[in-house]
């Protein structure tokens, strides 16, 4: 274990040598308060960002320049915390502290890969799953009071009807669709020592990365029933096990994590103003080892709240910060 940590510190040093200059990023200015979340359109050409200024901005390239195409400012009366595009790209869902349905601030919203479900989570400790009703309206399918504290993030599995939530209660819950349209918790992942802020699946959906206020990243591996590693599973359900903890590399709360479905690299957004990029060690056998391949200090001038890999163009990363800016980074040189 010690060896691993030393190794990571070394690669951190290396990362510092790779320091990129801020001019490498396109800076998207327009929001006049904290930017909480950014989300790429499935076509990879458009980006949505949301902010404490109660607006959503839609950004796209004009020639070589990123410009703000639209400002959506009439939907919400409070901070907009999260945005999510439907897989078909026709709809966008946004979650705001002004809360509809939930008792309280909504923290996150996510579409399922099939586009048939939407999940929201809130400070009221519950996760709600919605479906498209007969009249094309969203109908609440399930209200799951699954956490003991507020729920920070919901994410669907990339190709199955599995939902995952992260909470202030330090845990991650895994849900699946029950009979009768209901959803229920099948497993609770414990390990983080403080609030779990965000979670991200890899493209195959057999791994999950989580980031926390405890300044660590954990990688969870899925084991199916009858797996050759001999990990016990419960009934027909797979089980998730933490196979890697990245500690000592972040100096503050890690607010967001994004796992690239093209390069398999992991990016983190941290309260120490850094963006960091991790890649699985090629020769890792058994439990995986992740190297810190790049650190970007002062990626923003304040906390970095969100990072998101472009789903189409490898190496393009969008980030948003308390400093009110959105940045688009080109890390394609890394590959």
């Amino acid at each position: 274990m010690r060896k691993q940590i030393t190794y990571f510190l070394l690669s951190l040093q290396q990362g510092k040598n790779n320091k990129m200059s801020v001019t490498d990023a396109a800076i998207l200015e327009g929001h006049n308060d904290k930017v909480w979340h950014v989300a790429w359109h499935p076509n990879g050409k458009t980006l949505a960002s949301c902010s404490s200024d109660k607006t959503i901005r839609i950004w796209a390239k004009e020639g070589e320049k990123w410009v703000c195409k639209t400002v959506l400012d009439d939907g919400h009366t409070r901070t907009i915390r999260s945005v999510s595009w439907s897989p078909c790209g026709k709809y966008m869902a946004s979650a705001s502290f002004d809360a509809t349905g939930h008792e309280n601030e909504i923290k996150s919203v996510a579409w399922s890969s099939s586009g048939s479900f939407l999940a929201t989570c809130s400070r009221d400790k519950s996760v709600w799953v919605w479906g498209v009703g007969e009249d094309q309206e969203y109908e609440c399918l399930s209200v799951i009071p699954s956490h003991t504290q507020d729920v920070k993030k919901v994410v669907f599995h990339p190709n199955e009807n599995i939902l995952v939530s992260a909470s202030y209660d330090n845990t991650i819950n895994v849900y699946k669709e029950d009979y009768d349209d209901d959803w229920s918790v099948v497993e609770t992942l414990e390990g983080h020592q403080s609030t779990v802020w965000s979670i991200a699946f890899n493209s195959r959906g057999d791994r999950l990365a989580s980031c926390s206020d405890d300044a660590t990243v954990r990688i969870w591996q899925r084991y199916l029933p009858g797996n050759k590693e001999g990990i016990t599973t419960k009934g027909d359900n797979p089980t998730w096990k933490c196979v890697c903890t990245l500690s000592g590399l972040h100096n503050r709360t890690i607010y967001d994590i994004s796992w690239c479905n093209l390069t398999d690299d992991i990016a983190t957004a941290c309260g120490d103003d850094y963006i960091r990029i991790f890649r699985e060690h090629k020769n890792s056998q058994g439990e995986p080892i992740f190297d810190l391949i790049l650190s970007v200090p002062e990626a923003h001038s304040e906390d970095v709240n969100t990072v998101s890999w472009n789903p189409v163009v490898p190496g393009i990363l969008a980030s948003g910060s308390d400093d009110g800016t959105v940045k688009i980074w080109d890390f394609s040189v890394l590959s």
């Binding site: 901070t79 309260g271 120490d272 308390d322």
Partner: protein, 162 residues
């Protein structure tokens, strides 16, 4: 010393206020960079009013200069505050006031940590976690009722007017 005659069933101890900061010539010299020091942080928060008593946090010994720390080069500010009683229900509100005051007055590069002095509150860990959660803080500051109370704490003149 101010005397208190208030409805609250607990009579808080009232402490002596600190002297004003002694300014030096270099303080006024724009060519010399003065890093933020603990006293400056203390000065920013000492006059915050208690939500319930017409007394400042300094007079109630909730904040002390010795419990303010600043690392200017790393843009780090840390404040410990001491609730007057171990199950003071106002602890998270006081913490929020201190945090907001520092966020409003310090340059945005600073990372501000506000915590309860270890061992002085029954829900210390919970309150610390709440204060450290910027999403919770942001949501709280959008609550007009809460913001009104905090603004009164931060600006005692507003309270007198009401």
């Amino acid at each position: 010393m101010t005397t208190v005659e208030r409805l609250d069933n607990i009579n808080p101890l009232v402490f002596e206020k600190a002297e004003n900061r002694i300014t030096t010539d270099s303080d006024w010299d724009d060519l010399i960079y003065d890093p933020f020091d603990a006293r400056e942080i203390f000065d920013l928060i000492r006059n915050i009013n208690d939500p319930e008593h017409p007394l400042s946090l300094e007079e109630l010994n909730v904040v002390e200069e010795s419990k303010c720390e600043v690392d200017d080069s790393n843009s780090d500010v840390s404040v410990l505050f001491t609730p007057t009683i171990p199950h003071c229900s106002m602890a998270s509100l006081i913490g929020l006031s201190i945090k907001l005051q520092l966020l409003r007055t310090l340059p945005s590069r600073f990372k501000v940590t506000v915590k309860i002095t270890p061992g002085t509150h029954a829900s210390e860990e919970a309150v610390n976690k709440q204060l450290a959660d910027k999403e919770r803080v942001a949501a709280a500051l959008e609550n007009p009722h809460l913001l009104q109370v905090i603004n009164r704490c931060l600006n005692p003149k507003l309270r007198n007017r009401s």
